[in-house]
Amino acid sequence: MKEQGLSNSSEERLRQSLLRGLDGDAAAYRVFLQELASHLRAYFRKRLNRLPDEVEDLVQEALLAIHNQRQTYDANLPLTAWVHAIARYKLVDFLRRRAGKEALNDCIDGTIESDVFASSDYEAAAAHRDLHKLLTQLPDRQRLPIVHTRLEGRSVAETAHLTGMSESAVKVGVHRGLRALAALIRGKT
């Protein structure tokens, strides 16, 4: 039960931001993802102390996974357990993918179980992976909805008009595109 005082209040704050985000509040969701990113950064940095250069890539991968899988958060359960399970899954998956090149199992040690919200006092480093480049690999029906609605901030209706797709096809395109992006990342590393 270490560092619980701070992490309990920060967990509840984060949880409220997530819940509002799940109801469609983009501003609250953005706050949630921002705070989450710094917690994930601390979490991965602590566990990848031999691979500091990989931390930011893994933070982005975990953020994308949390976004794509956000419908699996059960509001009755603690946020920590959910985030921790995803972060841990992504870390183990990442190490397993790397294990072909080198034996890095010693990175997974006892500390893997400690609190994901313990601390967040790290600055973002640069990620190696360029998601913009990965985006260009997606088919148009996924890439264009993401570029128009997410990067340029257009509405779904505008994007539908611009691309000649239906509004539901635009939404499906964003959803599938972000999942495809996660799959591309997994294949690349």
Binding site: G21, L22, D23, G24, A26, A27, Y29, R30, L33, Q34, A37, E56, V59, Q60, L63, L64, A65, H67, N68, Q69, R70, Q71, T72, Y73, D74, A75, L77, P78, T80, A81, W82, V83, H84, A85, I86, R88, Y89, D93, A124, A126, A127, R129, D130, L131, H132, I146, T149, R150, L151, G153, S155, V156, K171, L178, A182, R186
Partner: protein, 213 residues
Amino acid sequence: MKTEELVKLLATGTEPVDRHAVGRAYGIAILLGLLGAIALLLATLGLRHDLLAATALPMFWGKLAFVAGLGAAGLFVIQRLSRPGAHLDGMPYLLAAPVLVMWAIAAYVLSDTEPTQRMPLLLGETWMRCPWLIAMLSIPAFLAAMNAMRGLAPTRPRLAGAAVGLLAGTVGALVYCLHCPEMGAPFIASWYLLGMLIPVALGGLLGDRLLRW
């Protein structure tokens, strides 16, 4: 791309999320699995000819209750396995309960039977076909539930695959009840269970490969 840009990308224009998405995904999978299995049953095996008369017998409903009970436990477990961080305490007991009840009934029936009649009661007329037919009828639900699980977030892929198989096996066995003439508790307690375990094993084997995200 900087992480800040990714955060902006993910948050911009975010849509409300269905809070019951997990339950809904499996509800749809079960429905598709049932429809697919019924279509398969009608196309290949047909209904049992005495289906109406059989519905008057308690064992017909006992059989359905066993399969449906296991299916309900499976539905509960599969939702847990679809959510990262959800604990699995008590899940083995939940799954074991319907099986133990059925085994207890089967043991009672066997002990109440003449020793020479026990083997025929256990094997019935169709023990060689029954497990395979149940496995065959579980294919539509297996595909639908695996697809549903792939859209969620299993952190234990083998267990999650096995849970997909269990849900599918119970759907297949439920539909098989419309064809199967067997009414002996020892038969149900062994061959039905075996039939449902075939997709469980298959799901467990495929989980690692199919359920990565």
